[in-house]
Amino acid sequence: MSELTSQKIPVTVLTGYLGAGKTTLLNRILSENHGKKYAVIVNEFGEIGIDNDLIIGADEEVFEMNNGCVCCTVRGDLVRILDGLMKRKGKFDAIIVETTGLADPAPVAQTFFVDEDVQKNARLDAVVTVADARWLSDRLKDAPEAKNQIAFADVIVLNKTDLVSKAELAEVEARIRGINPYAKLHRTERCKVALSDVLERGAFDLDRILEIEPEFLDVGDGHDHHHDHGHGHDHHHDHSHSHGGLKHYHDEEMQSLSLRTDKPLDATKFMPWLQNLVASEGQKILRSKGILAFSDDDDRYVFQGVHMMLEGDHQRKWKDDERRESRLVFIGRELPEQMIRDGFESCITT
């Protein structure tokens, strides 16, 4: 599986609300001297100031799969464009899909789950969301699309940090963490972020669902921020103060839910439970991920999902010195928390 995965072309989905700075980031990716060639699927021709014969205009055409599931929507234009691009294999290293500011990232991600030909040739690498530090808090109140994009993200580029005060920055970060504590967050001005922080993330690679700890727990270890040399001081300053009084927001609509147990799960109960859960509540669940320890099974089982679509596999043997702990994360809208917790509990072997 890993060998095959590595031959597939990685696809990065670049999203973000209107004016957040997607095009700035895209221009940086294309103009930086990294020795790689990207095919870019954009919704507006002409905004990219770089000459590249692998820039393709798309129409964001979403259609419902004929399987009776209303949220099984896919981007038909992507299926077609990826099909055409695969004829030029070897001419580019990776693909970037830019969505419009008002787009829901789910149909893009789902295209990679349901289309056989797309799956054969390409793999979803990560959803990268560019957010405007100054306006995001407002947009989270009035634009459901902006909230969706934050909830869906694997990587959040919090841009235009120079336009806000430290207090405002802390505020907007807390709001982001209230929705999605798991995404990697980078603070930037003019989208100055190391490209390795947004590309080749492997966020959808089952083999790399190793850590699903909330990202804010690691804050302050310096690891995530050493790329932003210009801000280093500010950030360290911030962290040292804010740990005690870190604002904690709970978004009323969009939340994440984390479950864990160190008792083994019963696979014959867990699998049907998870499948039923995403079948009945999948419209609310944007993303799901898990590392699972089943009774009578020496392998770690990993899964991930987008709305009602799930994929999972045995990953590897549990190591001797590793805690056999099951961890699950759901990010979604109005998640029925108690029902999920109770259901999960009932899958634990007694």
């Binding site: 014969d53 129409d59 055409e61 259609f63 299926v79 004829k87 030909d117």
Partner: protein, 338 residues
């Protein structure tokens, strides 16, 4: 010319030793005969022209990927991601028929026997008839496929949730045949009575044109990418399963209420089909590189090519049916004279 003879042996007959390998030197996406000359269309940039004596010459047709091809027997016309619509004849003469002003991809192309050409870029379908006047039609969503009706200047435009039937030379409103889903390819039956689309999901959809009655043809494990009408339009042979599936079209109801024939089962997915122009014989290629000839009547098989590394992506008979050409995604190509 010898008549095709499938033989009587209990084990599968083989003509693999009669195949002439062709070093076309590029991944191939389709092959077409112009008379006795075979044109192998590359996945990008080039076409390889193979004449009756087996000489190969390469010509550049596009500055990027070749996205679509149609043939009317006298020329092939291709659309590319360079925004160009290009014609190529058996002599190797290339002419640019159209260049998209915005360099949009030319996604689909269709040819009419009277010389008209249709192509599409995004939602716009264009038609240029013999007199060189150009007309266009904006579909409700990106065009998935184009086909001219066998009679009259009528164009079927496949898109999301159905097909539009457009008469470019008439003022009347276009007719829409609706069916939910994404329709990627479209063909008329040779008798003009049925219209069939290949869908994004693993299924075909059809309409009887007299009353627009629906025909659902499903049950495939994978998307149907290659379809071909058998001689006289009696059946529609399709890829997408581990057998060749042939839907019967001999009655006025088409395949409705009937079981399809399932021929030539193999432990691999059928990736290409091509029907003999005169006899009830077809050729089929598989995802493992195997090529077979199959007699439709009883399913008798002849091995043309043993399995190889890559899927068979191109398959065609010459107009008289004496030559069969094939090629794979990785560029292994061959021709056999029967």
């Amino acid at each position: 010319m010898k008549q095709f003879d499938p033989g009587e042996g209990a084990s599968i007959a083989s003509i693999t030793d009669k195949v002439r390998p062709l070093a076309v030197g590029m991944p191939v996406s389709s092959v077409h005969f112009l008379g006795e000359t075979a044109i192998f269309v590359g996945a990008e940039e080039n076409a390889a022209i193979v004449n009756a004596s087996g000489e190969i010459s390469r010509v550049v047709i596009h500055g990027g990927a070749v996205l679509c091809v149609a043939s009317d027997g006298a020329r092939i016309v291709t659309g590319g991601d360079d925004g160009k619509l290009v014609a190529l004849n058996a002599k190797g003469e290339v002419s640019v028929l159209s260049t998209d002003a915005k360099r949009r991809w030319i996604d689909n192309v269709a040819l009419h026997p009277d010389g008209a050409v249709a192509w599409s870029a995004g939602k716009i379908a264009y038609v240029r008839s013999g007199k060189a006047e150009e007309k266009f039609f904006e579909a409700p969503s990106t065009v998935g496929g184009l086909a001219f009706a066998p009679k009259g200047l009528r164009l079927a435009i496949a898109h999301y949730n159905g097909v539009t039937l457009w008469f470019p030379n008439m003022a009347a409103n276009a007719e829409v045949l609706e069916w939910a889903g994404s329709h990627l390819g479209v063909v008329f039956s040779p008798d003009n009575k049925f219209l069939v689309t290949t869908m994004h999901e693993p299924a075909l959809h059809g309409w009887r044109l007299a009353d627009n009655r629906h025909m659902r043809m499903s049950g495939y494990p994978g998307r149907v990418r290659s379809i071909a009408w058998s001689a006289g339009g009696k059946g529609l042979a399709t890829s997408g399963a581990d057998t060749v599936i042939i839907w019967p079209f001999t009655s006025k109801d088409g395949p409705m209420g009937k079981e399809p024939a399932m021929l030539a089962p193999l432990q691999a997915r059928v990736s290409a089909v091509a029907c003999h122009p005169k006899h009830d014989i077809l050729a089929c290629g598989y995802s493992d590189g195997t090529v077979l000839m199959v007699r439709i009547e009883d399913g008798a098989e002849i091995l043309v090519r043993r399995r190889g590394n890559a899927a068979v992506s191109a398959l065609a008979w010459s107009p008289k049916g004496a030559l069969l050409a094939f090629a794979t995604e990785e560029g292994d190509a061959g021709m056999v004279e029967l």
